[in-house]
């Protein structure tokens, strides 16, 4: 490194160490008058809600119609999947503005993703509408109850789904479905057993952490489905059965 750059870095380090976090002693700041930030910290306000319900619905339908038309154009273009995804996100935002809170089913935009979350298996059809290839959890041991199912749709069109189940004693069981592409490389470790099925291979790892929990990874052409929790292999395999 150039000597004067080294020296520059050292000056930088020493200056910060010497001045610390409080610069008020420096003459430079002797005339500063601190002001209070004018922050309006109010709970989330839904704007434009002076409409009548009819106007709200009409406005919502028009928005959807307009966006749908845009969709048709964009989809036919074929090279704008990111834009299409952004529009999907806008639709979610619009819907969220016009629909009341549902504690059992929620759709939201998070960064570059759309996330659907359900809290009860009664809403599983809605989740499957969002993600048609969703792995439907079944044969779950009775002692486990669903905490949540979160499905994330990513900007590249892939999905991840995570079921979290829990027992009264706070023991966890998770099922995680992850999109894989044909050019992905997947490695499994600590495999004690492999089972071939019509759709792929189940890799079983028995008690990998020595705590009595078992895990398995079901690799198909399109997904990996990881199951992990305090369950026996006899309980686990029926969960992955077609």
């Amino acid at each position: 490194m150039n000597e004067h750059i080294k020296q520059d870095k050292e000056i930088n380090r020493i200056t910060k160490a010497t001045l610390g976090s409080d610069l008020d002693d420096l003459d430079y700041f002797k005339d500063i008058n601190y002001v209070e930030p004018k922050i309006k910290n109010e709970p989330h306000k839904k704007k434009h809600f002076k409409f009548s319900r009819f106007q709200m619905i009409a406005s919502f339908m028009i928005s959807l119609l307009l966006l749908s038309s845009v969709f048709a154009v964009l989809i036919s273009n074929g090279s704008v999947s990111a834009t299409k995804f952004k529009i999907e996100q806008q639709i979610v935002n619009i819907k969220n503005q016009f629909t009341g809170a549902n504690l059992e089913f929620e759709t939201k935009v998070e960064g570059d993703s759309i996330v659907v979350e359900i809290k009860t298996l009664d809403e599983i059809d809605k989740a499957a509408d969002f993600f048609p290839e969703l792995f439907i959890a079944k044969n779950i041991p009775d002692r486990y109850r669903l905490e949540s199912l979160s499905i994330t749709k990513n900007i590249d069109g892939t999905f991840n789904a995570l079921y979290i189940f829990m027992t009264e004693a706070q023991q966890l069981l998770t099922i995680n479905q992850i999109s894989v592409s044909t050019d992905s490389s997947v490695s499994f470790v600590n495999i004690s057993k492999e089972i071939e099925t019509d759709k792929g291979t189940i890799y079983i790892s028995e008690n990998p952490f020595g705590d009595g929990a078992n895990s398995s990874s079901y690799l198909t052409d399109a997904f990996i489905i990881n199951v992990s929790g305090m369950i026996s292999l006899e309980e686990m395999l029926p969960m992955l059965a077609d």
Partner: protein, 179 residues
């Protein structure tokens, strides 16, 4: 909506914790212009609150606020072009050679003493102090300072070099001062 109230609460807390620090940073950027500082600070608050849901990592809220402040300062100076009057006289050329080991030893020894550093900074002009603090304390590269304050980059480099030379000269003139 997700975390909105939580984020708003966190935002208010961060503004209370880092409000002064942020104002000092803006005060440095504006070279002691109280009026500009207040305007940029309040604009930073407004923009921060408006863009709160875009913040992905809440632990980075402080640096995020500082970035907004930089952007607001830049907008402010684009609008008012106030800082274009930076002196260009006395350009000393590039800091083309590093200090010798002994010179640098004395130099850093002086900087490591908070009282001395305060004294040294007082010897600098407002403009030189501004560049010194932005560059060495707030880690703003000269190019970024140039972009934010709408100042010619070469002018800034000259001020930077002149500042270091001035500090070095003062330290040399007062040899042994820092023992």
């Amino acid at each position: 909506m997700k975390n909105e109230n939580h984020l708003s609460q966190l935002f208010a807390e961060n503004c209370n914790i880092y409000g002064k620090e942020l104002q000092r940073f803006i005060f440095t950027l504006t070279r002691k212009d109280q009026f500009a500082m207040e305007e940029i600070f309040q604009n930073t608050m407004v923009e921060g609150l408006a863009g709160l849901m875009k913040l992905r990592e809440e632990e980075k809220m402080k640096s995020w606020l500082f970035s907004i402040a930089k952007a607001e300062a830049r907008r402010y100076y684009q609008k008012y072009q106030k800082m274009s009057n930076m002196e260009t006289s006395g350009m000393d050329g590039e800091w083309d050679k590093a200090m010798s080991k002994d010179e640098f030893h004395d130099f850093t020894k002086a900087l490591a003493n908070s009282e001395m550093l305060g004294t040294l900074l007082r010897e600098l002009s407002d403009e030189e102090q501004q560049i010194y603090l932005l560059y060495y304390y707030y880690d703003l590269p000269l190019k970024e300072i140039s972009a934010v304050l709408q100042i010619n980059y070469n002018t800034l480099r000259s001020v930077h070099v002149r500042t270091l030379k001035k500090l070095k000269r003062i330290i040399t003139e007062r040899g042994g001062f820092y023992e």
